[in-house]
């Protein structure tokens, strides 16, 4: 006959046994197990149950009064705006970037229309075109600058900084898509490849469920070769910066970006 082990006896004592009837029967038949169980019961019964000091009926009120001043009031949930979904993350950044692009495109066409109607201004066409390109290069330079900062932060990130990193990545992602498309059309393969690579990293960072753990950050840095990308972005930013300065001084530029 197999004897009952201590864990089984303990489970039986506390009423957590899977088969109490079988154990009960065994204890009636096996004197050794019955002795062991009686010893266990006796030892546990000897350990007193600590009674807590009595608290008055107003104890709850006292506790409440002691904490109520330090509690903020929860804000009632706001009624949803019909276009609220557009303003919620991750659409918020996309909507902002799309609006900015629309404004730029609209300004471009208005400008062109204005030039057709006022031939006297046509002479200044090349100058204004250069100015527009310069603005666009500045915008792209700013985008690359922000991306560079994000990649540097990513390299030195610890899990506590994950939330701001993800928010920044989402914000950059929407504008990066637009720049990438524009760059593709303008025929700058180096810049387009770099922006494509950047977009994949931004997607990974933005969509990581449950935030970025240290291990995931290491994995991401390894998988996506973020160090290599950081170098590319730095080089491109310097190049774009050079182009901006070139446009500013009227010198010939190498590449431009057209939105």
């Amino acid at each position: 006959m197999n004897h009952l082990n201590q864990q089984t006896l303990l489970d039986y004592y506390y009423g957590e046994s899977d088969s109490p009837a079988a154990i009960d029967e065994h204890l009636h038949e096996c004197a050794e197990c019955a002795r062991e169980f009686n010893a266990l019961r006796s030892d546990l019964a000897a350990i007193p149950v600590l009674s807590a000091p009595v608290r008055g009926e107003d104890y709850g009120q006292q506790v409440w009064q002691s904490i109520r001043t330090s509690l903020p009031v929860y804000e009632a949930p706001q009624k949803k705006h019909p276009f609220g979904w557009l303003m919620s993350s991750p659409w918020k950044g996309f909507v902002a970037a799309a609006t900015a692009c629309l404004l730029i495109v609209a300004a471009f066409f208005v400008g062109r229309h204005w030039e057709h109607r006022t031939p006297s201004l046509a002479a200044n066409h090349s100058t204004s075109e250069q100015g527009r390109e310069r603005v666009l290069l500045v915008v792209l330079g700013d985008h690359l600058d922000r991306s560079e900062r994000l990649l540097v932060e990513l390299r030195h990130a610890d899990p506590s900084t994950e939330a701001p990193l993800q928010a920044e990545a989402r914000d950059l992602l929407s504008s990066n898509r637009l720049y990438r498309e524009s760059v593709k059309q303008s025929g700058d393969p180096t810049l387009a490849t770099a922006l494509d690579h950047l977009e994949r990293v931004l997607i990974e960072v933005s969509n990581e469920p449950g935030g970025l753990s240290k291990a995931r950050l290491d994995e991401l840095q390894k998988e996506m070769n973020t160090d290599g990308l950081l170098f590319e972005v730095r080089v491109l930013r310097s190049r774009v910066q050079g182009d901006v300065e070139g446009k500013g001084t009227g010198a010939t530029t190498t590449k431009g970006v057209y939105l």
Partner: protein, 190 residues
Amino acid sequence: MEVHDHAIVRAVLAGDKEAYGALVARHSQNVFRVAFRITGDEADADEVVQEAFLRGYQRLSSFESRSEFGTWIYRIAVNCALNMISKRKVEASYQIGEETDPAQHQVQVADSSPGPERTLLSREIESLQAAAMKSLTATERTAFILRHMEDRSSSEIAVALDIAPNAAKQAVFRAVQKLRRSLAPLRVNL
């Protein structure tokens, strides 16, 4: 008619801060009892009660309506009590005394025996029990208290301590083994 806990939680989350007072009043005695049993100190237990309800309020938006508020706040209180004993190192100064004395971390143990011999024996038992409890780790002791004194099941202990059910069972088992070893001398006397 008593308002259900879930309705109060909804009211609090909708901006009615004062409604939380009803939840505190309803559950503070239970929370105090378990806090006292774990910390072994009245003042510490009071502090645990306040901290548990404070934390409960701060995390109220994460409270899931499929669970009971009483169970949820109980779990927070157990965690607060565990933090408290780690902070105060109650283990090192847990004593049995004549009177409950928070300053010395003493706990009064009920004594129903009348005669002097019986009193002496009872004190010897209590002192051995106190020493035995001291030999347990914080998790083992809390698991044992929840099982033996609070009558909680292994799965409830697991949830309260945020460990696997099997680990909770093992913690109680280890605690019982250690206590039995420490209390073995009593078997001869009894």
